[in-house]
Symmetry: C2
């Protein structure tokens, strides 16, 4: 392995923000009930309201687990056995939602699209037009497994009149573009700390609307998941009463990373990722890489999914890159061996890291000029 720092260009985890790294190492070990920890938590809560564009009455908090716990907490808290739930599925994370909602006892129906294509608002409208009242609609904003950005605003507009709760997986988008929970009428939003925010993995920033909290409070059956019960979460984050030990070092690191993201500005981060993504695409196109997502408007700015050139050995090439100190991700499920996924999240969306990746790729493939094309497309000096 190279002695230089490892270059992590997967779609999460991302390289740590320096402020997150410093906070992880530098803060004192404190208890989860310490006044200084509650002070940090309050700032996290305020910053999460900004991150998600959350209206008054929203509970913002960190779950003590990764984004998948965020996903599962939504179904565990917002569904009761037998409740009808409608899930958008156009990749592995939509499919994971079906698995979790089924385990939570939901009667699951799906709206589907093939890998690489976006979910259709009309398909949601059709599914919601039936006689049965749907309790919860859930979908991913960005499908990390395929690099697709779903048309969330249009889908939310269709869901609103139905009265169903709306749960949005913002794992691939939060922190890298503005999010308008209030305008969307979303009831539950979650991400993982290690994605667009570039904090270490292990906490899931969530937002729960006042409407979702009221429906949760009116449950007829207990929430099956004690660990992430919204009532317990509220007890700790709002009333400062003990629920379970929280990972304070990860709170400190997330706090620092989140502050840095908001200080830079979400539109600025969006533009930064988009510019690098376009330049990488321009650099790799002559090698035979092609966008996996055919429709440009449906391409997720934070995960560049590229179909591999014919003849390129996925596993061997990524292993050779790894030997040179660069990690990129392959496909998942049906796209394994078919695509690469390049993360453009947080500290991963930096020109220098992509220059390093492309230069190592030149060495592995025995080609030249890729890095130079990237620099020219980005308009930086070669």
């Amino acid at each position: 392995m190279s002695a230089r720092p490892h270059v992590l260009l997967t779609p999460g985890p991302t390289p740590l923000h320096p402020a997150a790294q410093a906070a992880l190492a530098g803060e004192e070990a404190l208890g989860h009930m310490d006044p200084a920890v509650f002070a940090v938590n309050r700032e996290i809560q305020a910053d999460l309201r900004t991150l998600y564009g959350a209206p008054v009455g929203t509970l913002t908090a960190l779950l003590a687990g990764t984004g998948s716990l965020g996903m599962e907490a939504g179904f565990a808290n917002l569904l009761e056995p037998g409740d009808p739930v409608l899930i958008g599925v156009n990749g592995s994370f939509g499919a994971r939602m079906v698995e979790m909602a089924t385990r939570a006892g939901g009667r699951v129906r799906t709206v589907t699209a093939p890998p690489g294509e976006a979910l259709s608002p009309q398909a949601f409208a059709d599914a919601l037009a039936g006689e049965e009242e749907v309790r919860l609609v859930a979908l991913v904003h960005g499908e990390t497994s395929t690099g697709v950005l779903n048309p969330l605003a249009e889908i939310a507009q269709v869901v609103a009149p139905s009265g169903a709760l709306l749960s949005v997986d913002a794992v691939a988008t939060a922190g890298m573009q503005p999010f308008d929970m209030a305008g969307l009428g979303a009831d539950y939003v979650y991400t993982g700390s290690q994605k667009g925010l570039s904090a270490p993995p292990g906490v899931a920033p969530v937002a729960v609307s006042g409407r979702a909290l009221a429906r949760h409070a009116a449950r007829r059956t207990p929430t099956p998941l004690w660990y992430a019960d919204f009532a317990g979460l509220r007890d700790y984050w709002e009333a400062h009463s003990y629920h379970h030990t929280v990972p304070v070092q990860l709170h400190f690191a997330l706090h620092a990373a989140l502050r840095a993201a908001l200080a830079e500005g979400l539109p600025q981060r969006q533009a930064r990722a988009a510019a690098i993504g376009e330049a990488v695409l321009a650099a790799l196109t002559p090698l035979g890489f092609t966008p996996f997502v055919p429709t440009p408007a449906h391409r997720l700015p934070t995960v560049l999914a590229l179909r591999l050139p014919p003849g390129l050995d996925d596993a061997a090439t990524r292993a050779a890159l790894r030997e040179r100190g660069v990690s990129v991700a392959g496909g998942m499920g049906p796209t394994a061996g078919v695509i690469w996924r390049l993360g453009l999240m947080g500290e991963g969306a930096r020109p220098a890291l992509y220059e390093r990746f492309l230069s190592e790729l030149e060495g592995v493939l025995g080609v030249r000029g890729v890095t130079q094309r990237f620099q020219e497309a980005l308009g930086v000096g070669a």
Copy 2:
């Protein structure tokens, strides 16, 4: 607040082991599927087998959450709706088990003892003598809320002939005394990283017996908790296939802390905690503090629970100590305002930290000689 390092003497989280602190800060950010991470994970698995005294065929792993997730994962994986479960309750954490087992659909019966007293093996024998076959018996080894050590070996001996699975909460004991999973016939054991091991909170080291894995594989219904499903855990830890993103920084830190604990030796750690606990008791007895647990054999060496002297204001005194940079814990539930709980886990069980605590306590209470009595009892120079 004091400029000196904060002294964290709660029964978890504990002060970080220096090696854990260094690993937290110093390791490169790597992905959860990176070969270097799997190499660390393999060493963690081997060390956890030593920590728990686990027999061949046991799955050892980290859950991506705190000890409470470890507790909930046991019930979610090992119970199906309607299964009879017997739970020992002599404090807050036994009561939490009842809550979680109920949510998992178990038909819960309990064996109880008052706060401060240990669970009785005979009571388990009586409860298991009924006609109904019990699927799972669960209890805490050490009850952190009251400072009681339950007679685990004797209870395990009673449970074995019943054929029930045995789940043991080792949150208060793991890493601070030898644990004999094989000899006990225990099927599920868990702790939190931030207790006796002095790693940061956020991962739960668990061990699942071959028998428990076989019963889990034979479930008629899906495990309600996808996030901590034993099958998914096995996929990631044994087959190295993706389940969810793991908190790699916490893996690195736990790895370092666990190595350090085993290098010191579990009997040596047990002796270290016991010696300090006895000296603290000797130092505080003249002030009117008395052991909350009447029977010496039932006192948990890692949590010294002391009944407060009449007239001592719990909240005000602990707040004053906190102002001077020392945290100790009060009681929980029925013991709130009645006891203090002093952690003697991992890096918390160090004479210098207790000297600091006792010296600050002298200042807060306006008394003298407490620290000196501690030093004399411990046999260190005054």
